[in-house]
């Protein structure tokens, strides 16, 4: 049973990691808008119809 002294802190560490990841996600604004990203994922799989000269200018990728 003494294995619990190893597994237990380990489990807590994993839990802490999850909480930290969650806090990071909230702080970076991932829960601010829950509707639009669902629509946004449908786009941008192909470049829009535009003159070839402009095509290499990639859209500004900002989050």
């Amino acid at each position: 049973m003494s294995v619990i002294y190893i597994v237990f802190p380990l489990a807590l560490l994993i839990a802490i990691a999850a909480v930290i990841a969650y806090i990071w996600a909230v702080r970076s604004g991932q829960f601010d808008d829950l509707d639009t990203p669902g629509a946004r994922i449908l786009h941008d799989d192909e470049p829009p119809e535009q003159p070839a000269a402009d095509r290499k200018k990639s859209p500004p990728a900002r989050q």
């Binding site: 807590l12 839990a15 829960f31 449908l42 859209p59």
Partner: protein, 806 residues
């Protein structure tokens, strides 16, 4: 044959507009323009993304120039600067609704050189645009969005929304941490429950106790601090709040748990219940916060739709559209027919009729000529005038009224919420019971006395009680919003549940707020002639006559007509000469009227109507009475209000004679009506009524009601109301008529019923746990089972109950 479908909006094309030769079919000019604009920008893929069956409404473009968007004062008010010298703005877009709209709006950087980023929040219909001011003008961006069918407005709530977003993130982090703590403590508690049944080595028990204690301390100090801080501040102000019993149970539970852990001898710990309470109550608060925000958001969007530009005449005579903030004292402003006056001033040129109802409640338009004062917020109905600005912004009559609104809002006494009143007794009873338990067990079995008393304090922690009000209110506010009733907070609902005094504004609330033909006496055959003549004139009385005689006279050739300002119209139709106008004017032209016309005139005047005489070829043929008719549902709605115990009164700025006539018509006691009240007087009447310890509800629509709305226990702004009344009111009715008022009061009563039921159920659970604790029968497992069940009952009952709606 299948319907021909519009290539832009996918709605059926009216048969008259189908052009068999054309490749593309459109239901309206707006859709055609938008389709061409979108294809012109190479964004035809929009139509691939757009759902075929998602036909909503035809596109609308305003074709506006948006010149005011480039003005310095517009920048100061709405534009923020990015770190790299870029500019940003939040624009509220009308008409965005689907995934394809998101695509189109976010493709803006590809279409317009100089737009760096464009991101749309589809739920709020707000797009954040970042652009380089050196490469493109904001008005150009706005015109492009408009040409795509999304007319845009600066989003007024940007600052409060940013604050709210920060608050929202804090809520989420607290909930996340509290949830993780509760989950992990619960895992260890399961091991301890196992130990209760099958026995457990002391060393593992110690380990679980210490780890649980550590995690509970984290939960209490970080997310749970909210309750401790809330309890402390309400103790300091000597007011009762639901936070006090919660904080009491949390601190005592944690301290007792720590004592048991350190003593390491036996005794129960309740860490899992404590952490779960923190988590559940935080979730309840967050839901409440979010729902209230939704109502605020909706009101702010309405706000953003109100125009805020003026047409400034430059020294060289050209007219430029500028934001209202840019006006200075002495500026000359052009006000076209139908526009509202942007600032207080004096008419420099022209004369016209003005609708002053927003400011005075007077439904009859007033004639105002050169040299006379006009106030911001009134509407020009007649013809173009030029105004010399005398005061702007906070110095205008409206500005001073808004200062009054804020003053009242600050001084309004806070309502002691139902739940907080319960909390007051709750704390006392729980402390009393704990003392009794300790005393009784000291006598029976001294070793268990402290254990049992403390267990009682912990297990009566009012989790369900704390959730009872927020959940009932949130569910009700959500349902109300679907019915077009926007409620800014739960306090308004509690206030509206018991009857009191309800004061109604007249113009725009009880009536339609526009002139209509109410009665016509005389020769029926000349009615088409009147319509033909009046159709040539744009006076509100003429429009009311034309609207009432709709269709009549439409087949006649256009009549010749001449308008005499403030008097009437002289015209010719079918070779007959008509004079239509005020009694004095027609008398002067035609001579004294016959007896029947005199009598009709007197009768109409008694009903407080505006009288119009009609003479054809020098002979009196008709008498028309115009007024602002009472809404059809008003009498029935007021009857319902009175039956449910409310005292109904009218508080109007309109002439007392008109107010009394309306009151008699819909069955309101004339004693309770006050006419001719200035905006300040309205607020005074409300505060006087409040001082008698009564609940006073004010219903109104205009700027003149704003101060009274803000002073009342609950202010209700009705459909079509002015911006100022939206800001001052607690409730906004999105549907016209008085029926929503009745529905709101009924819904509020039901909501408080649900709150009371929830409180009752949660108290019942507490009676159960308290008696178990007093009998010494409680243990952590029973507490951990009862607590979530009680909360769940409250949740289910709140969402299942019918408050608003059918």
């Amino acid at each position: 044959m299948a319907d021909v479908i519009c290539d832009h909006c996918k709605l059926p094309v009216p048969s008259g507009l189908i052009d068999p030769a054309a490749e593309r079919q459109f239901c309206c000019g707006g859709c055609r323009m938008v389709w061409e604009a979108i294809h012109g920008c190479g964004l035809g893929r929009f139509y691939e993304l757009k759902d075929e069956f998602d036909a909503t409404e035809p596109a609308r473009t305003t074709g506006e120039g948006y010149e005011s968007f480039d003005h310095d004062s517009f920048y100061r008010a709405h534009v923020f600067t990015d770190g790299d010298g870029l500019k940003g703005i939040d624009l509220y877009l009308e008409g965005v609704h689907c995934a394809a709209c998101v695509w189109l709006v976010e493709k803006l950087p590809h279409v317009l050189e100089g737009v760096v980023e464009s991101r749309l929040d589809i739920r709020r219909q707000v797009a954040r645009i970042i652009w380089d001011p050196d490469r493109i003008a904001l008005s150009h961006i706005a015109r492009t969005l408009d040409s795509f069918g999304y007319p845009c407005h600066p989003y007024r709530g940007a600052k409060t929304h940013d604050l709210w977003r920060i608050e929202q993130r804090k809520h989420l982090i607290r909930i996340g941490v509290a949830g993780a703590c509760a989950g992990n403590v619960m895992l260890m508690a399961f091991a301890l429950y196992g130990g209760m049944a099958g026995g457990m080595e002391q060393q593992y028990r110690t380990l679980f106790h210490w780890t649980s204690l550590a995690i509970t301390l984290i939960a209490l100090i970080f997310p749970g601090r909210v309750f401790l801080v809330g309890a402390l501040s309400s103790l300091r102000t000597r007011s009762m709040h639901m936070d006090i019993p919660v904080a009491l149970a949390l601190t005592i539970g944690t301290i007792w748990g720590a004592v048991v852990t350190v003593r390491d001898g036996g005794g129960d710990v309740y860490f899992e219940s404590l952490t779960a309470v923190i988590f559940l109550l935080l979730v309840g608060r967050w839901i409440q916060h979010r729902q209230q925000r939704a109502a605020h958001d909706a009101v702010e969007l309405l706000y953003s739709l109100t125009p805020s530009t003026a047409r400034l005449i430059e020294s060289d005579g050209t007219v430029r559209e500028v934001p209202v903030e840019a006006l200075e004292i002495g500026s000359a402003v052009e006000v076209r027919a139908g526009d509202s006056i942007p600032a207080d001033g004096v008419i420099a040129e022209g004369s016209s009729q003005f609708d002053l109802s927003l400011l005075t409640g007077e439904s009859r338009p007033a004639n105002i000529g050169p040299g006379e004062h006009v106030h911001a917020g009134t509407t020009n109905l007649g013809s173009r005038v030029v105004i010399e600005v005398q005061s702007t912004g906070a110095d205008t009559r409206i500005g001073r009224l808004m200062a009054l609104v804020e003053q009242f809002a600050r001084s309004r006494p806070r309502l002691v919420r139902l739940a907080d009143r319960v909390a007051h007794y709750f704390v006392m009873v729980v402390l009393l019971l704990a003392t009794i338990t300790a005393a009784a067990w000291l006598w029976l079995e001294p070793a268990d006395a402290v254990d049992n008393a403390i267990a009682l304090l912990i297990v009566t922690c009012p989790c369900a009680l704390g959730l009872a009000t927020p959940l009932a209110v949130v569910a009700a506010i959500g349902r109300a919003a679907r019915e077009g009733i926007l409620i800014k907070g739960g306090e308004a609902l509690e206030q509206l549940a018991a009857p009191g005094l309800i004061l109604l504004d007249k113009t725009g609330t009880l009536t339609q707020g526009a002139m209509r033909l109410v009665e016509y006496v005389g020769d029926e055959e000349i009615r088409p002639l009147i319509a033909a003549v009046e159709a040539q004139v744009s006076h509100p009385i003429a429009r009311a006559l034309v609207a009432a005689l709709a269709g009549e006279g439409a087949d006649l050739p256009p009549a010749a007509a001449r308008q005499v300002t403030g008097s009437g119209v002289i015209g010719e139709a079918e070779g007959r000469k008509l004079i239509v106008g005020s009694p004095a004017f027609v008398r002067e032209k035609v001579g004294p009227p016959p007896d029947w016309a005199k009598q009709a005139e007197r009768e109409l005047l008694d009903q407080a109507l505006t009288v119009i005489l009609i003479a054809v070829d020098g002979e009196y043929t008709g008498v028309a009475g115009l007024g602002d008719p009472v809404l059809q549902d008003a009498a029935a709605s007021i009857g319902r209000l009175r039956r449910s115990g409310w005292t109904v009164g009218i508080l109007s700025g309109d002439h007392p004679v008109v107010v009394d006539a309306v009151a008699r018509q819909i069955g309101i006691d004339v004693e309770r009506c006050e006419g001719g009240a200035s905006p300040e007087r309205k607020a005074e009447v409300v505060t006087e009524a409040l001082s008698g310890n009564r609940r006073v509800v004010m219903v109104g629509d205009g700027v003149n009601d704003a101060a009274a709305l803000s002073a009342a226990s609950v202010g209700i702004a009705v459909h079509g109301g002015a911006e100022a009344s939206l800001a001052a009111a607690d409730v906004f009715l999105g549907r016209p008529g008085l029926a929503p008022v009745v529905e709101l009061l009924r819904g509020a009563r039901r909501t408080v019923g649900v709150i009371t039921r929830n409180l009752g159920i949660s108290l019942l659970y507490n009676v159960l746990t308290a008696s178990l604790a007093m009998a010494g029968l409680i243990n952590p497992l029973i507490a951990a089972i009862l607590m979530p069940i009680s909360s769940l009952t409250v949740v289910v009952l709140s969402y299942r109950s019918r408050t608003f709606g059918p």
